[in-house]
């Protein structure tokens, strides 16, 4: 890429697209540490319904959040095909259970649209924007909001 092109276009950011309850979502790839196949979790007492439990990530005990349940859809019935996206936010490591991880999307800031009214509804409060693509709309998940939602409960 010639240097001029770089200065002209705002730098593109990479997002990983995931499927939650049949819909397209995406996560800033800088937050993603790795993807893991689903493995059984240990139930946590007094936990909100979207918290599936904890699992062992190489010696670290991490909570697993069912994004579908968090976004107000039916809870997932985990199978081997489900994927756990391991994210990192302010030194906390958390797993997000999704149906599948699709591809990496390169997005420039001008492609991102606001999601009006998202903050008003708990099921959409973790959505911080929308991206229009040929395949339809993709919702951007705010990792920070997911973590604070988990911390706020009870």
């Amino acid at each position: 890429m010639p240097p001029e092109a770089e200065t002209l276009a705002a730098p593109a950011e990479l997002y990983a697209t995931v499927i939650v309850a049949g819909q397209d979502f995406c996560i800033d790839i800088k937050r993603v540490r790795e993807n893991r196949r689903w493995s059984p979790t240990t139930t946590l007492p007094h936990a909100p319904h979207y918290l599936m439990g904890t699992m062992n990530l190489r010696g670290e005990v991490i909570p697993i959040i069912d994004l579908a349940a968090l976004f107000g859809f039916a809870r997932i019935e985990p199978t081997d095909r489900h994927v756990i996206v391991i994210i990192e936010h302010e030194e906390k490591i958390i797993g997000l259970a999704v149906e599948a991880v699709r591809r990496i999307l390169s997005v420039t800031p001008d492609q991102i649209r606001d999601a009006p009214g998202a903050k008003r509804d708990t099921s959409t409060s973790c959505i911080r924007g929308l991206i229009t693509t040929d395949g339809g709309v993709i919702r951007i998940i705010s990792v920070g909001d997911v973590v604070s939602a988990m911390e706020e409960v009870l």
Partner: protein
Amino acid sequence: MAALDAIRATFFEECEDLIEALNEGLGEMAGGDHGGETVNAVFRAVHSIKGGAGSFGLNDLVGFAHTFETVLDRIRSGDLEPADELIALLQRAGDVLADLVETARDESPFDAAAVSTTSDALEAVLGEEGAVEEEFVFDAVGADFDFALPDLDDDEPGSTTYTIAFAPRRDLYATGHEPLVLIEALADLGEIAVAVDLSGLPGIDAFDWEGSYLAWEITLVSSEPEGAVREVFEFVDGLCDLEITVVRSGGSGDATGLPELPDLDDFAPDDAADLPDLSVEPSPAASAETPARENAEPAPARKDARATLRVDVDRIDRLINTVGELIINQAMITQRVREIGVPLTPEIATDLDDYKQLAREVQEGVMGLRTQPVKQLFQRMTRIARETADVAGKSAQLVIEGEETEVDKKVIEKLADPLTHMIRNSIDHGLEVPEKRREAGKPERGTVKLTACYKSGDVLIRIADDGAGLNRPRIRQIAIEKGLIPADVDLSDAEIDQLLFRPGFSTAASVTSLSGRGVGMDVVRTSIAALGGRISIASTPGEGSVFSILLPLTLAVLDGMVVRLGEETMVVPIACIEEAIRPRKDDLSRLGTGRTLFFNRGDYLPVIDLAERLGHPTRAKKLTKKTLLIIQSNGSRVALAVDGVVDKRQVVIKSLAKNYRHIAGISAATILGDGKVALIVDPDGIAEDPPSAGSMRSRTEDETRREEKKDAA
């Protein structure tokens, strides 16, 4: 200047050790040991701090240390009688010195009033003579050994003149030897003249803290044979470069044979500005002021000359984590091999056992790296006790036992606050005022005993006072006033004692400057619980109270009972389990609608269904089919119902709060042999918390979850 900063940091690290030695010595002196070595040790500590402080231009510290040291020197020489009052003053001076070191390190302002009061008191002890020393200037590298040159006219027939070139290597210092001791021993043999050779000193940039840069040339006139001179250096053989030359054999009477000695003044700090002042450090006691002549007997080498290594705690923690993984990995491999179901050859079985054994040994060794004696912590408490007694108008002594007991460094760090609070409580609330004690026929001076010992894999710390004991009617009344208990409730003594740990409880009839800080025993208990420990009280009216803290040796592992709860596996700390019983129907009785009691050893214990309490989905199972774990919690016993006991094993503790948050009734998590996470039960939390609104809600959620599962099926 990074190099200097590093040296400075090292100085303050060493100061910590020195202050510890100082306090230890003062403690021994207070205990009646006024022996030469004890006083010497205290003197050396103060002196070394002074030496280092001078190098960094910490003048307030140097000035105070100097006065302090002068008093110690007078005690050492027998001029001053170490009476109780004087020792109390020395202890205060030790506190002030510690404060000065701390404020110097943090570059924060110090309490000038306290310093000058104590300093004045020390001066007063010294009397007029001491006052002369006001004009004190620290000689950085004063080599002013004040040995007279041999007076050759008095040279007795039969004496020999030796020149001794003595250059210590760094190992000499590393093994705890001191040139001063050797020179003093030489002085015992006859007349000596000592000159120090500073030419080996590098510039400050190249200066190695532990290096050896000084050499001495000593001229000795003695009637002893050469063998006796060599004998002095017997213990440093190979640790120094030594050359002994016989210059002139005795009897010749020819005085001019003596080589020209360098004028000692030449080595006085004329050119001190060019010299790194630190050069006193490798052997602080060997520097200027130590009055060698008064010390006829050679001072024994430093007590703790063990070779030690300072290591960054983070590095040890990383190692501990990795070893924790190794233990889990070992358990996993063993389990996997078993699961495959292939018949094990004896070789593989042996190898697996060896692996387990080795992993355990590595773990124990690594854990040991992080343990420290509680000594330093306990010594800090001596000071807390002294200050508390002063403010509260009590006469108290703190007796310390078992200070060599070793505990995880992290535990020690986190124990300081609760222990401080408890010592204050014991003196402020526990001990009576002197008059009352006299009336009760007790010695006016109250005793608080702080002890530590090992108890079956744990560490037991006890704080026992010989005061009035807990005032139970008063505690009860306060609890009623504060609405903690209903007015008509019937409580056992143990239950009343437990009220002290309830949040919002404070026994202080009047808010004193010591205790009324809004920090109650509930905070103490929470901090102890956070360390995986438990606290209990025993008290006898008129005789005193004992607070016992039971702590794990390390925060990283725990002996646990692995139990089954439906599909879940959990771990209950073995330390709190008294026994595990399969209950008989006759021993179970209902109380009201929801509660069940279990009759055990003459008592009815409340039965808590662990799965139910934690809101886990569980199929209703008859209690007689379950296992009851009888656990000790807060002085009372409860029966914890679980589906079954799987195994007893050591588990590595993993934080839940790091990535998630604290959960009521759960202290932490661990990873079992199959790689799955298991939660570790917090017995105290389980035993005391009645099912809260939160757990009720989550239980209904669990029910809905179960229903959904059913629908899906």
